[in-house]
């Protein structure tokens, strides 16, 4: 659904200054119905990428496609196909929520303007406030309204630039729940976010980006690639003499002890765990429970960026 081939954007601010490479040779393929998380630090070029994909600005190199439409050639048709939630809601504050959405519905050539406006105002819980000026809305309500605006024309592709940025936890949860709902509708969603927990929960795949794409994969695969899989065995007591017996297994590469817990890195826990447990039981260990140590996406993100910096 979204395809980029060496997509590049360079800005030349002043003639006597070197150009700034905002996006360098980005190659990406996002399938229809996929939720893709685009992670990167401030100034990494995420918004520039979204603007290029939404046909707001043109690349200085490479190509980008939305479906079979190419940016730079089919810009108006692309803008009709995609919906975008910009970094800031940018609503008309003196106008009512209903008027704001009606204007955009007309600009997107929506056939049933009142119907679509009502649908999304109700869906996002704003119908009761429809005639109120947007200036009187809370940040969360404005963000919801901006999401409604991005959806009025039922786009197949949705770009969400920091959808929960600056929202309180309750408003952020409302927005997140709504994105999860959208996910079930089969739309392709491209989310730029700093909220790693959000990306972990919402996204099928994640790309870590800093001017160029550093890595891209599912959150689970990224975890495994960077940290492998770690199993924690909680024991009633831990006898250090058991450890050499466990090291006899070829697959035990790294082992740590922490109080009465054993942390072991494994490549295939589903097969290897029973062997470890059997061995420990043979040595008289009382195993209370076994779990998998899960690294947060934050760990993955920081590790990836640190690796990139080195």
């Amino acid at each position: 659904m979204i395809l980029t081939e060496n997509l590049t954007k360079t800005f030349t601010l002043r003639k006597n200054q070197p150009p700034i490479n905002a996006v360098q040779e980005l190659n990406l393929e996002i399938k229809e119905g996929e939720v893709f998380g685009f992670l990167g630090p401030n100034g990494a070029g995420k918004t520039t990428t979204v603007r290029m994909l939404a046909a707001l600005i043109h690349p200085t190199g490479g190509r980008a496609f939305i479906g079979n439409l190419q940016t730079g050639q089919d810009d108006t048709r692309i803008r009709r196909t995609v919906g975008i939630l910009t970094e800031t809601p940018g609503m008309y504050e003196r106008l009512s929520a209903q008027k704001n959405l009606s204007i955009y519905a007309r600009l997107y050539d929506v056939k049933d303007v009142p119907g679509q406006v009502e649908k999304y105002l109700r869906m996002l819980g704003l119908w009761a406030r429809r005639i109120d000026e947007v200036g009187s809305f809370s940040k969360g309500m404005r963000q919801k309204l901006a999401i409604a605006r991005a959806l009025l024309h039922e786009p197949r592709v949705l770009f969400l630039d920091e959808p929960t940025s600056g929202l309180d936890p309750e408003a952020a949860k409302l927005v997140r729940d709504f994105i999860e709902e959208l996910k079930t509708e089969g739309r392709t969603i491209f989310v730029c976010t700093h909220n790693l927990d959000e990306a972990d929960r919402l996204c099928d795949r994640i790309g870590i980006f800093k001017s160029r794409l550093i890595t891209v994969d599912t959150p689970a695969n990224l975890r495994q690639k960077l940290f492998g899989r770690r199993v924690v065995l909680h024991l009633r007591t831990l006898d250090p003499q058991w450890l050499p017996a466990l090291r006899e297994f070829d697959f035990v590469r790294e082992m740590q002890t922490l109080d009465n817990r054993l942390v072991i890195q494994l490549s295939d826990p589903e097969t290897q765990n029973p062997l470890l447990i059997r061995k420990l039981v043979e040595h008289g260990a009382d195993i209370q429970f076994v779990g998998e140590l899960r690294h947060s996406l934050e760990d993955i993100y920081l590790q990836t960026l640190q690796g990139e910096a080195k």
Partner: protein
């Protein structure tokens, strides 16, 4: 290739008016100034009606103006000379009124961060600029024409002579109000929008756009100083110049509106 959509233009006009007319101060400037500019010539005509001018034809009227007066009596000639200054006010109205609206149109969207979502819609640059320009120009032209209509209705009440009444309904005035005024409005809104899309502060946009008043004031002072006369010939020259200026401003306005620069360079 997409066709020009009048529906998009109409939506932009609707949006601009909904926003602008909610601002009472803007509404006040749109109504007050035209009413003031209409009242002034009426008051002046009332005060000078029936006044005999000492010195006959060679009174205070500049020599260049004699051609306009022809065989009129000195009072009518002086009234026409005085009322002719106010023709410039009627021509200035559609220039001054839309400047505030037009100057704010793009830079205002930048400051409220509403420009990016707007540019993300399928609207073309031409549709957007046309909508913005018409939203600013229509109220200005409308207000000017309404005031001119009020002026024509009230002129007999002032005691102005038949010759004066005929003159203000003559080709010079009709061309000035019906043709030059709208052309001035087009020039003003296009210039103001052009400035608005290049600056980051609405105040700067308004100040820069106000520069357009200078050539019109030159006409006013030129006539007061006796250097020129606003007659039919001059009006035709002004129309020709304005058409050229408007074409250039529309052309460069569309060229200078760089979506990408506006989105990426603005902080």
């Amino acid at each position: 290739m997409t066709l020009f959509s009048f529906k998009h233009v109409q939506t932009i006009i609707d949006k601009e008016w909904a926003e602008v007319f909610k601002n009472k101060m803007v509404l006040f400037t749109i109504i007050l100034m035209p009413l003031l500019f209409t009242a002034l010539p009426l008051i002046m005509l009332s005060l000078t009606a029936g006044t005999a001018v000492p010195g006959g034809d060679s009174a205070d009227v500049p020599e260049l103006f004699y051609s306009v007066c022809g065989t009129m009596d000195s009072t009518s000639c002086m009234q026409i000379y005085l009322v002719n200054q106010f023709l410039i006010l009627f021509m200035m109205m559609p220039l001054i009124i839309p400047i505030t609206i037009a100057a704010y149109s793009i830079v205002g969207e930048k400051t409220t961060r509403s420009l990016e979502p707007l540019l993300a819609t399928p609207i073309s640059t031409e549709e957007l600029l046309t909508g913005k320009a018409l939203a600013a120009a229509i109220p200005a032209i409308g207000a000017t024409w309404v005031c001119f209509f009020i002026f024509q209705i009230l002129i007999p009440v002032t005691g102005a002579t038949q010759q004066v009444r005929a003159y203000v309904l003559g080709p010079t005035w009709l061309l000035g109000v019906l043709i030059v005024g709208p052309l001035m409005a087009i020039a003003a809104v296009n210039f103001a929008i052009m400035v608005s899309s290049r600056v980051n502060d609405p105040r700067v946009a308004e100040q820069m756009a106000a520069v357009l008043i200078v050539p019109v004031l030159a006409l006013l002072f030129g006539q007061l100083a006796g250097l020129l006369v606003i007659n039919l010939q001059l009006m035709l020259v002004v129309i020709a110049c304005l058409i050229l200026i408007d074409i250039l401003l529309i052309y460069f306005g569309a060229r200078l509106f760089q979506r990408e620069t506006i989105l990426t360079r603005w902080k």
